[in-house]
Symmetry: C2
Subunit: 427 residues, 2 copies
């Protein structure tokens, strides 16, 4: 079963904005067995949208159109679809009444222009919008279903789920796509692929075939497994087996198999162990603390953080002796270690982390080029310190620093001796 | 002059990946007067790509296709375009030699499969790729130019610039599009639009017409002005005048007219004034420090930051008296003020900021619901404290907290009495 997804809106044809609704629509359509073969962004122009919809009618079993259902002259999706069907637009007074009531509830009078949102191609089914004024519409043309949904994601998503459940699932194919995301850090993409390829290459021809995609960024690699199966149970069994095979070759470098980010994995580990953490950051500038506190409920284990950007603050906030900075430089393993121990001692936490490095673009030297970052993690009697040679621009050096620090902590808590990072780091 | 942009690759039809090449292609095409009317992502399938290209031939003056030029069976762009043109594919041995040399330079033998990258639809012009093995191709069909470029952005972008300069600019329209981005904080979208609409509505009919788009997120609004002009000088004059008109009605709530983020604006202000800053954060969890230190060279003015997440740390790190927390609660204006004054005193900086609030999803009370955030900014003898009622999920409360704190500082430094935020904040 083939699907086409269209996003209507000239603002998505500028250099500033991409359509992201289609990612949600793709996920949901895949789950019920539709294969997305084409997605497009179309300008706010009746004839242009009409042309694209007519083109898709030739091959698509479902066409999902988001956007262009607002009240203004620019909102042309209703008109274009009515033109495709060759039917007139009627005003549905029940819709207009609902919109009027919605405005009244907020003490406002409905502007007359909003009557446009009550216009319905004759014969269309109206899909209720619990979170906005624009209703959705369902029409059929030959064998093709056409679904019109509003553009704002918080309106679109629940309406999509409802129409999938009520109308689309029963038209869908017998094989659905189910996905799993394995997240990995501490290894390079080529290293991961060399280890993983002999494994995933055997999956494509199984009774429940699984395809694999690698997405790599600095400090984070994702393996996306997609199983085509008749049911979620069948897919889950195949994906569980595949995940286990991948864990057998990639080991603890896989930090999550359920999409959780590294800070959430760390949070769960600390909560389970009833441990608390404090961090002292220089070059990462607060990014580690900010990521740790992105996790709801992190106040249960994050006691404090300090950003000791100046040398004075390293001494005042975490007690790094000025003589240590003089002897080794602010970016050095002894200073990172003193930061980790200092913050842990002052905060009275179980864990301390210290990060000091050169984020760039300036400040590098031949011995310590931009990207050189020393990280220390202290847990109980365990003290681990490493110097990493990160690459990329300032924001990526900050990201890799936070990522490597969390991965060091994770491996210490797992009592693993896996390498922290794919680097020429000293041991 | 109308343009169509196609991205070829089934991986961009998954829920995980969007096409971003089209943003670069759009920007460059706009600059030479092409209007992008449609963009689409097409699967790796000869007949499907052929169908889409044939559809676009009916109306597009240029079709730019990225991706699908690699050496594998999945790379079908060459085949599809040859099919559209009704011409055979010939192997261009000069291309194969270049690819072979490229491999040899890295001490490798060219795999035979790479001969596919030397295949050229008869009559096509080959576009050199300085950064990869896949050459680009230029073909014409009727009045339409078709440009084939490889998918990786670092290969695609310089090839695009070359083909625009060498071939496309001369076919382009006489009116090109030039853009300017005004960034605004401290006001709601509806408030900004109410003030701005009477101004920008007069622009569309001028001799250099300017169209305006508003992009709004919580705590940040952008006005995108697009001028259609015969030259950059003409566009710049019109955009300068339009920017000045907008500044006359929106005043200091416009914090940048050149795309700089708020932290870079703050950085420039502090550098000009030779001032230093230290911040004490609770609910924002280090995000303010991290954003301030995202700016290259920020170590010149960021002295330190602390994330005092626990009450103990508020007392130990910035000297908030426990009695003050007992009397007013940790989320209160007196505590925010004590944090700002405490961090400034200990750091010896010119400026101190204190942020304390409830990021959610838990921790709210009827008097202090989730999103309640008290922020204090201390500069010289000036002390400003406000309580903000932010909305949205945890990450957006953190973002708005950092944004509002920087905007308070900006307005104090500008000696402006403009409101800090569109809120029922106490004065």
């Amino acid at each position: 079963m083939n699907a086409c997804i269209l996003a209507v809106g000239s603002e998505m044809l500028t250099p500033f904005r991409v359509d992201t609704n289609s990612l949600i629509v793709t996920e949901r359509l895949n789950q019920i067995g539709f294969d997305v073969r084409l997605k497009a962004v179309v300008a706010d122009h009746v004839d242009e949208l009409r042309r694209v919809v007519e083109g898709a009618l030739a091959w698509a079993d479902v066409i999902v159109i988001t956007g262009g259902l607002g009240p203004t002259e620019d909102d042309i999706t209703r008109d274009a679809v009515a033109a495709v069907l060759g039917v007139p637009l009627d005003v549905d007074e029940a819709i207009v009444d609902r919109i009027r009531t919605r405005f009244a509830r907020r003490g406002m009078t409905m502007p007359e222009i909003n009557r446009r949102q009550g216009m319905v191609p004759r014969g269309a089914v109206v899909l209720e919008n619990a979170n906005g004024t624009a209703p959705g519409l369902w029409v059929e043309h030959g064998q093709t279903a056409i679904v019109l949904l509003p553009g704002p994601p918080r309106e679109m998503t629940p309406m999509l789920d409802a129409v999938i459940c009520d109308r689309l699932a029963s038209r869908a194919g017998t094989r659905c796509l189910f996905r799993r995301v394995l997240r990995i850090t501490g290894r390079t993409e080529s290293d991961v692929d060399a280890a993983a390829q002999p494994v995933y290459s055997t999956w494509a021809t199984r009774s429940v075939p699984i395809t694999t995609t690698i997405l790599a960024a600095l400090g984070q690699i994702e393996l996306h497994l997609t199983a085509a199966a008749a049911s979620k149970a069948e897919a889950d069994a195949a994906l569980d087996a595949a995940t286990a095979e991948m864990q057998a070759v990639l080991g603890v470098s896989i930090y999550s198999t359920d999409g959780r980010p590294l800070e959430a994995v760390i949070g769960d580990m600390l909560r389970e162990r009833h441990m608390t953490i404090a961090v002292a950051e220089s070059c990462s500038g607060g990014l580690l603390a900010s990521r740790l506190t992105d996790v709801p409920g992190s106040s249960a284990y994050v006691e404090r953080g300090v950003v000791c950007y100046s040398n004075t603050s390293k001494t005042e906030l975490v007690g790094v002796p000025p003589s240590l900075i003089d002897a080794h430089g602010a970016v050095s393993e002894p200073v990172a270690k003193a930061m980790a121990e200092g913050i842990r001692g002052r905060a009275g936490t179980d864990i301390g982390i210290g990060i000091t490095g050169i984020a760039g673009p300036d400040g590098g030297t031949p011995e310590k080029p931009v990207g050189t970052v020393a990280i220390a993690v202290v847990v109980g009697d365990t003290v681990r310190v490493r110097t990493f040679p990160f690459i990329g621009p300032r924001d990526m050096v900050k990201f890799q620093s936070a990522q490597a620090a969390m991965n060091m902590l994770r491996l210490i808590l797992l009592k693993s001796d896996a390498p922290f990072w794919p680097s020429k780091s000293r041991d």
